[in-house]
Amino acid sequence: MQIQAIRQPSRRRFIQGLMSVIALSALPFQLLARSTKAFQATKLETVQAELFGDLPIVDSSDISLDIPDIAENGAVVPVSVSTTIEGAEAIHVVIEQNPNPLSASFKLTEFSVADISMRVKMGKSSVVTAYIKTPTTIYKTGREVKVTIGGCGG
């Protein structure tokens, strides 16, 4: 009786310990793992599923997506994304009509501002969408960009 009373909680604690070790060792891999599948995806739905799983995706007016309406050179299209949304942990730039829609993902920390700029290649006219990931919801905003000379295969 007494032995059991001692043994019971210790076994539970052992299992708890084991679980936390597994959880901790899995964490860095998750943080470092590249979303290869999302980058290789050729369909917008696949990109969204790989990046966001089941999280709800809603339109937001709190994202500023700065990109020209007409890109004369599809090889160099400047894009700027910034947001005031609380809890933003990642910014994703998606070009829907490109062969691989996902262009870039930026993982923010509490020490970085949700405000990035870059240049992308666009094969043809497309909607360009910025996604802001928070722990519970994905916010997005999109803009149609007209490309006069494509940037893939020049």
Binding site: P78, S103, K121
Partner: protein, 104 residues
């Protein structure tokens, strides 16, 4: 491989550092062909890491649709004159390069 420097500029406004980065890289998609019709193999930056005084403040994953010789700008909170900001990249072939500046 030829030298591929990471050029950086930074300025601090109200304790937020605005960092502008220019990287030298071909960013080949792997779908283009050369004049002889042979596919030019993919060669693109996959991972970018930005550090402020040795702490990682932002990481980026890129695909093949980031433009050649990438330009990239980001902002770091609680920055001041004398701080160091470092940006490094790794590409799909395992090549890497980095740049560092001391904020004025």
């Amino acid at each position: 491989m030829e030298s591929r420097p990471v050029k950086m500029r930074g300025k601090v406004v109200d304790s937020v550092a605005e960092i502008k980065v220019l990287m030298k890289h071909p960013m080949e998609t792997g779908t283009r062909r050369d004049d002889a019709g042979a596919v030019i193999p993919a060669e693109f930056i996959e991972q970018v890491t930005c550090e402020h005084n040795g702490n990682v403040v932002l990481t980026a994953e890129w695909g093949t649709s980031v433009s050649k010789n990438p330009y990239f700008a980001f902002k770091v909170k609680s920055a001041k004159s004398g701080d160091t900001v470092k940006v490094g990249w790794t590409d799909n072939l395992g090549n890497s390069s980095e740049g560092e500046i001391v904020l004025k």
